[in-house]
């Protein structure tokens, strides 16, 4: 943890609450390595997609480029495990280094600490998610299809992938409060695998999204209650 920032917080906000932005900033600096890891996943996937689309330019441009569809599963698997691992590592760091214990003596609440942590998680997921979506949209604009595309398929797929990332991150947070960091990450990844199987059974679609969203809500609320009532 960056103690210097906290000391500055302590002096600057001596009589006031620590602002949410400061908490998020602290989370960001503490977990910069995780964010970099999260950035590697879309970077690899985007490279593969661009290469595949450029190779397919000579063929009749109807429908979604094959590579954009083929890459969905590898992307889902990599992203989901990274998200679960990040969530677990984030929570485990807190447990090991007693970050929340220290922050609780300052003018803030556990709820705000948890929200700041979740905001960072959402940022992490967006870092993994948004660049690929933007790349696909830009590629489909540059190499425009003369016949309307079945965009519904891509929208469904990306919505399911986003829901899976968020859900796996929530699971990571939930199982992360363990003594061993390795066990926390492994447990998070194992539970994520069970959720990925839900997508494997149902496919990319509304049914998967509903299950994943409900699971995310349930997991986050459970973690919230646990985090707020846990003896530090």
């Amino acid at each position: 943890m960056n103690v210097r920032i906290l000391n500055r917080c302590r002096t600057k906000y001596n009589s006031r609450d620590i602002k949410m932005f400061t908490l998020i900033k602290r989370e960001l600096i503490d977990n910069i390595a995780l964010l970099l890891l999260a950035a590697i996943v879309p970077a690899i996937i985007i490279t593969i997609v661009i290469k595949g689309v450029l190779e397919g330019v000579a063929y009749l441009p109807i429908g979604i480029p094959v590579i954009m569809v083929r890459i969905l599963w590898p992307y889902l698997l990599c992203g989901a495990f990274v998200a679960a691992g990040c969530g677990a590592a984030q929570m485990n760091d807190d447990s090991q280094r007693k970050l929340s214990t220290f922050l609780s003596v300052l003018a803030t609440t556990r709820g705000r600490i948890f929200i700041a942590r979740t905001v960072l998680g959402v940022m992490l997921i967006l870092i993994m998610f948004v660049p690929l979506v933007v790349t696909d949209v830009v590629l489909l604009k540059i190499f425009a299809r003369p016949v309307p595309l079945d965009m519904n398929f891509l929208i469904r797929s990306f919505a399911t992938i986003l829901a899976t990332f968020v859900c796996c991150y929530a699971i990571g947070l939930q199982v992360g409060w363990r003594s061993s960091k390795l066990m926390a990450i492994l447990f998070g990844v194992a539970l994520s695998a069970a959720l990925i199987l839900v997508v494997a059974i149902k496919g990319f679609g509304v049914e998967s999204i509903i299950i994943l969203v409900l699971f995310t809500v349930a997991s986050l609320i459970w973690t919230w209650h646990k985090f707020l009532s846990l003896p530090l």
């Binding site: 009749l60 109807i62 003369p146 016949v147 059974i201 299950i211 997991s219 459970w222």
Partner: protein
């Protein structure tokens, strides 16, 4: 925070997570059982076969009837259908993981055909959702490089727009299609559209620039032309025409004469079309009609699917048969909700059923069959009884193709199939058929008893105990797992009054009801005694404390 409220929230959400994770694990357990069962099953049991087909008339026994060659060996025609032994093909993940099998997703469900490339151009029909019109266009590239490769941009030349009221080079004034089905045959110069909003067939001829509308029809049409559903789940129906084996001789370079066999069939005389000027259509009830492409009227009923309704089948395919260009009948093959029961119906040219064959798996005929079936049943039994009850009453509402993907309510389970069967037998049978849920209910009651026993030990209030018992009976193993995850994790202390373990976070002992402070003058209800004297003091039971005494002590 209100701890009671927090506990309830925890239980509800932990319960939901337990249901999802448990259902997923059980799904893959059942998946493994069924897949192993299919792998172990002898190949003759997995397929349904009928010979002769009955469709080819005199040709069915062709070599016997028409050949005088003494070498000919009769092999009559036959029909075969088989469920695909890879049930993974029914899972949703293939949609994106194996896009080659789902080419319509890659191309677009709105493209109804495109021609072969000719000088860099392709002709194409597609539906423009924004306009609500069918579009006929040419797509190609302009510009060639030195090596003769097309280098320019892809361009589209729109030829015509077609709507329900006409054809035009501009999109306005020709109406809009809403919900519709399209039939397109590359050999025909026109497209036939069934407009579901008006229940009429519309024929669009782009060459003659004509739009012809047929009369209103009653049946709710769901498919035109190729009648097929979830074809990845099965192989067939395959019609094998009769063959004869002809023994021939040839001389090798060394002068030796060798014998070899050659097979001849009448395949060239059999084609899988309805004949000229008509096409198959399927309505929602599973009835197959012939559509006259000239008048756009439905002709007579010519067949039906082997299982009632379009939604009732896991998969189906209908194959019309023509001999030398004239319609001879059709084969309607499919798999019911049960993956182990492929079957087919054969209809003659007048729509009369002439053959019916349905598969039946005898599990005792192969090693491991009964064991795997029992394992599958046990895994189904571990599902929540309330979800099994839902499957019993709602299995007919599910699409047959959704069964293999079901996670929570299992229409393809034994309970679901029993419910579907009993619903057709009458109300009494429908109610009596509920016995299939009893094993699951028995497990749930056992788990509820375990929960109640543990809850008493932990000191959960009687109201909460009731809720837990009720929930465990309803949700079975999932509720039990939830209980284990959310039960209070407290170190119990010895009660000063009754001597039994009591919760430190409650004001009164959950066993004897006494408060924390017990006046010293009143002797406690418990004693430490030697084991040898246990029989003498059998009437003294610390588990049955005198509550009245406790109350009096408190009042004093």
């Amino acid at each position: 925070m209100n701890s009671q409220k927090g506990y309830v929230i925890n239980v509800v959400f932990a319960g939901f997570m337990a249901v999802v994770v448990l259902s997923t694990v059980l799904f893959f357990g059942r998946f493994l059982c069924l897949q192993t069962l299919l792998d172990l099953m002898p190949s003759d049991m997995a397929l349904v076969r009928k010979s002769p087909s009955g469709l080819l008339g005199d040709w069915d026994m062709w070599p016997k009837e028409s050949v005088t060659d003494s070498n000919a060996v009769a092999s009559p025609s036959s029909i075969v259908i088989q469920a695909d032994d890879d049930i993974m093909a029914n899972l949703g993940f293939l949609e994106a993981f194996d896009p080659d099998n789902r080419s319509e997703q890659l191309v677009s469900p709105d493209i109804y055909g495109f021609s072969e490339e000719y000088e860099g151009w392709r002709h194409m029909f597609y539906f423009d959702k924004a306009l609500g019109l069918l579009v006929s266009c040419d797509i190609g590239r302009e510009g060639l490089d030195d090596k003769g490769r097309w280098t320019g941009k892809w361009i589209k030349k729109i030829n015509w727009y077609a709507g329900p009221r006409g054809i035009s080079q501009k999109p306005g004034g020709i109406g809009r299609f809403g919900d519709f089905l399209v039939f397109r045959n590359v050999w025909l110069p026109y497209i036939v559209v069934f407009d579901r909003d008006t229940s009429q067939f519309v024929r669009i001829d782009f060459e003659k620039k004509e739009v012809q509308t047929g009369p209103k029809i009653e049946p709710n049409i769901v498919q035109i032309g190729r009648l097929i559903k979830n074809d990845r789940a099965m192989m067939g129906p395959i019609l094998t025409p009769p063959q004869r084996k002809i023994t021939k001789y040839k001389t090798r370079p060394n002068g030796k004469v060798v014998e070899y066999a050659r097979y001849e069939s009448i395949l060239q005389k059999v084609s899988f079309i309805t004949g000229t000027g008509s096409e198959l259509v399927l309505d929602n009830s599973g009835t197959i009609y012939k559509l006259n492409l000239e008048t756009l009227e439905l002709e007579e009923r010519i067949g039906a699917l082997p299982w009632p309704g379009v939604r009732g089948s896991l998969a189906y395919e209908v194959k019309p048969i023509s001999i030398q260009g004239s319609y001879a009948g059709l084969i309607a093959g499919g798999i019911g909700p049960d993956i182990f029961r492929p079957g087919f119906l054969v209809f003659d040219e007048d729509g009369n059923p002439i053959r019916e064959e349905r598969g039946d798996v005898e599990l005792s005929r192969f090693g491991g069959g009964p064991g795997l079936w029992v394992a599958n049943f046990v895994l189904e039994t571990l599902h929540a009884p309330i979800l099994q009850l839902a499957a019993y009453f709602t299995s007919l509402m599910f699409d047959g193709a959704d069964g293999p993907r079901s996670l929570f309510i299992l229409p393809n389970s034994l309970v679901g199939r029993k419910g579907a069967y009993c619903s057709r037998e009458g109300l009494v049978e429908y109610i009596l058929g509920l016995w299939v849920i009893l094993p699951s209910l028995a497990i749930s009651v056992l788990l509820a008893w375990r929960v109640e026993k543990d809850a008493r030990k932990v000191g959960i209030s009687s109201k909460a105990k009731c809720w837990w018992a009720f929930t465990t009976v309803a949700f079975g193993l999932a509720a039990y797992i939830t209980y284990r995850l959310t039960r209070p994790q407290l170190a119990l202390v010895t009660c000063a009054n009754c001597g039994c373990p009591r919760r430190p976070d409650m004001e009164r002992c959950h066993r004897c009801g006494s408060r924390w402070l017990v006046p010293e003058l009143i002797p406690p209800l418990w004693r430490v005694i030697e084991k040898s004297r246990l029989d003498e003091t059998r009437d003294f039971s610390p588990d049955q404390p005198n509550h009245e005494d406790s109350e009096q002590i408190t009042k004093k």
